[in-house]
Amino acid sequence: MTILVILLKSILIGGLVGFAAGMGAARMFNAPTVQALGAFRTLGEMNACEGDPASHFSFGLGFFFNAWASTVGAGAFTQDVTHRVIPNWAASVLLLKDKKVENTVHNPKKMAIAGAIIGIIVVAFLNTTASAIPKSLQVTAVKVLVPAADLLINIVMPIIFWLAAIDAGKRSGLWATIFGGLSAMIMGNAVPGVVLGILIGKGVDELGWTRITRVMLGAVIALFILSGFFRGFDIQMIEGFKLQVPNFINNMHSIFNVK
């Protein structure tokens, strides 16, 4: 019974996601005239397949296996389902009928419809097969994957982003170091801070201190102050420096305390 519910829900989810992924991918070929939804790597990879249905299909298939392994193991589809499997398979199906990419892969309407159909099939397949796997098998996966994932998120990803920021120039390295360190303390992970640092550093490199970059910096600082406040970082910091927490800060926290 549960499996039937999962199947029905998957069909709806797959249709929604597939429709938007197909349409968004086709619109990428018309960006920036048209605002698109996708990823640069998807655009590059789809261009690399050069409108050959077999290349699009096998490219998607490789990532499909990976997504399937990950879904069976940990219940996570990987981002490749929306980034690679759906757009490339939708493109491959359309190209079978018409070889001209302008009429097929670059057409949001056709890609949306093909994407919706592919999405339904892929999501339904992944969810039903993975939920049919016995629980005891998932124990291994959890035992192996969770520690690996923790290392990846907390140590490896911050370092890779951080070094990329440093290599990208003095400004992005500087801002990434400041915000990365702060976000490791305030948010518990350095990646968001490093990403925001790159955004500001490269933005200033390319535009200078214009209104856009100043507004961005202001927004980032506001984000840090707000998340610091709501996670109680201000109190921890004052206590860390062995100082008395002023009453007005305690009062402000008690207003927002939801617990």
Partner: protein, 221 residues
């Protein structure tokens, strides 16, 4: 990308217009948010990388949702800024991570379970969130479009994002080898097969570890 410029783009039609962008984002966000509902209820179906879903899992198992919430929300914020400036909203950071992980964990951390545990509510919540995000981007574009051709380091982030994915394979094998010797051997064999087959080795390492783990089980502490 230049040759398509000759193609007729009817910016008034639904498929190419600015106003359809929020609808498209809304549909995507609805599906992804419902995917998180699936994971929350059935432990399967989250639209994200294992590493990021693991943060949600940590919260569901009684830990803190803080890491996932901050991670997802900051990604969403950065991607909205970037997306409106470069013309492509990054699906992974904004919707999959921001809407799929960040916002649900914020809701869960304040004890608001209903939007995630109820299927229809999750679809509606996702749809509304997507419409808001798409709307913000359309608005920002109105005021900033053609003002700059800056990429805001999107290439840097993209490169870093891609290379961090590569680390997962070796990390999984390392973690499998410390789980138990049979599981370690299984993950090595799986990774080797996938490597020779020219596939990302992470998938093979997971499958190999699972197959050997099925015959030589370990208990979850």
């Amino acid at each position: 990308m230049d040759e398509e410029k000759t193609m007729e783009i009817d910016k008034k039609s639904f498929w190419y217009s600015e106003w359809s962008f929020p609808i498209m984002v809304g549909l995507m966000a609805a599906g992804v948010f419902a995917g998180t509902h699936m994971y929350f209820v059935y432990n399967v179906g989250a639209f994200n990388e294992v590493a990021i879903v693991a943060m949600l899992k940590a919260g569901m198992d009684g830990g803190s949702y803080g890491a996932a919430a901050a991670f997802g929300a900051s990604f969403l914020f950065a991607r909205i800024l970037e997306g409106s400036l470069v013309g492509i909203l990054d699906l992974g950071g904004s919707i999959l991570t921001g809407v799929g992980i960040g916002i649900p964990t914020i809701l869960l951390s304040i004890g608001w379970k209903a939007p995630i545990s109820n299927f229809w509510l999750s679809i509606v919540t996702g749809l509304v969130l997507g419409l808001i995000i798409g709307g913000i981007i359309t608005l920002v574009r109105k005021y900033t479009i053609n003002q700059s051709s800056a990429t805001f380091g999107a290439d840097v982030m993209m490169g870093a994002g891609n290379s961090s994915g590569r680390f997962l394979g070796p990390l999984i094998i390392l973690s499998a080898t410390s789980a138990s010797i049979p599981i370690g051997i299984g993950s090595i064999i799986g990774a080797v097969i996938f490597y020779l087959w020219k596939k990302p080795i992470a998938g093979g390492a997971i499958l190999g570890a699972m197959i050997f783990g099925a015959f030589f089980p370990v208990s979850l502490k």
